[in-house]
């Protein structure tokens, strides 16, 4: 700041004379410049819009692919289960054409889901389409099948049963052996 003041105070004659010289004019058109700035700004916005649309399209395709894949995976799994003991030839589940999976390849994490599926299947066989759960769900016996061995036995018998009602009666009694 001191230097600034000293420069202002002691501005010599030469500096004053030099300041009087005016730089030559230029040929820049102010309106053209404004137009160019607006054009470039709009181009930037267009890129942003296109990028956003592209990104949303990718997300949409990914979600659709995921949704299409989800149900087929969950419905294929129970149909594909096959036991070493039961011939799958006449069984309705085996006729779906999926590659059989060995029962011992299943782990405990499948068990609750398999139980639920089997209960529902049995109820539908016995009571008809009215047994399909509504949005509020239906009550099904939960104490009957507690192990994968039970499930495999029940599945084999379900596939071979001519009278689903008798099978359900046995199921309710807990007589699965």
């Amino acid at each position: 700041m001191d230097r600034e003041d000293s420069l202002e105070r002691g501005a010599d004659e030469l500096a004053r004379q030099l300041r009087q010289l005016r730089p030559v004019g230029h040929g820049i058109d102010r309106d053209a410049l404004m137009f160019r700035a607006g054009q470039r700004s709009a181009r930037g916005r267009l890129h942003a819009w296109q990028s956003m649309a592209g990104l949303m399209m990718i997300v949409l395709v990914a979600v659709l692919a995921w949704l299409n894949r989800g149900p087929s995976r969950t419905s294929a799994a129970p149909a594909a289960v096959a036991s070493d003991n039961a011939p799958p030839a006449q069984a309705p589940l085996a006729s779906l054409g999926h590659h059989p999976i060995r029962a011992d390849a299943w782990t405990d994490r499948h068990l609750p889901w398999a139980n639920e599926y089997l209960r529902l299947r049995t109820r539908v066989t016995d009571e008809g389409l009215d047994a399909i759960p509504t949005a509020h769900g239906v009550r099904v016996p939960t104490e009957t099948i507690n192990s994968i061995a039970d499930w495999l036995r029940l599945r084999r018998r379900t596939a071979q049963a001519s009278e689903p009602k008798s099978l359900l009666a046995e199921l309710k009694k807990g007589n699965l052996s």
Binding site: R3, L7, L18, H26, G27, I28, S41
Partner: protein
């Protein structure tokens, strides 16, 4: 557009564009200097926030752009030759000028680039020493020293020119 409105940008353009073109001509010929200044004003209007030190920002951007243009073209020697011979003058020649515009320009051109830059920023850009330090990325003391040295160099050049002209006049008088 950004947060700088067209009116404000226009005000800065009217006020600084001539000096900015002169500053860019330290490195570029006249059309290229105009291009550099134009690009800087376009960039200014695309800024999301106005620069804190507008004046220093403008000069710094012009400097960066001019140096970049100079490097890109890679024709420095050819360009400097052209600058010296073909391009229009830096200053308007007006009858009320106490200094001859061409002589002053020649004296300024003869300065080392660093001193010439500071003198141009100070005298025609109207920048303070602090602003010059921001533009050049140096200390205020360095800017001050370069300015003083630049003015001294111009004075010396003009005196040499005057003495040379004086000698010519006296020899012509003797011949008469």
């Amino acid at each position: 557009m950004g947060s700088i409105d067209a009116q404000e940008a226009g005000w800065w353009f009217e006020r600084e564009s001539n000096a900015l073109v002169l500053y860019a001509r330290q490195w570029l010929d006249h059309p290229a200097a105009e291009d550099a200044v134009q690009d800087v004003f376009v960039s200014l209007m695309l800024q999301s926030r106005p620069p804190e030190q507008m004046k220093a920002w403008l000069y710094r951007c012009v400097r960066n752009r001019a140096l970049k243009a100079l490097r890109t073209e890679q024709r420095r020697t050819w360009r400097e030759d052209r600058l010296a011979s073909e391009t229009p003058a830096w200053f308007e020649s007006r009858p009320d000028n106490t200094l001859d515009a061409r002589e002053a320009e020649a004296a300024i051109r003869a300065l080392p680039a660093e001193e010439r830059e500071v003198v141009t920023l100070r005298l025609w850009g109207g920048l303070t020493l602090e602003e010059i330090a921001v533009v050049l990325g140096c200390s205020v003391a360095t800017a001050f020293r370069r300015y003083e040295a630049g003015l001294g160099g111009i004075r010396q050049q003009l005196q040499q020119e005057a003495s040379w002209i004086g000698k010519i006049h006296s020899s012509v008088a003797r011949m008469n």
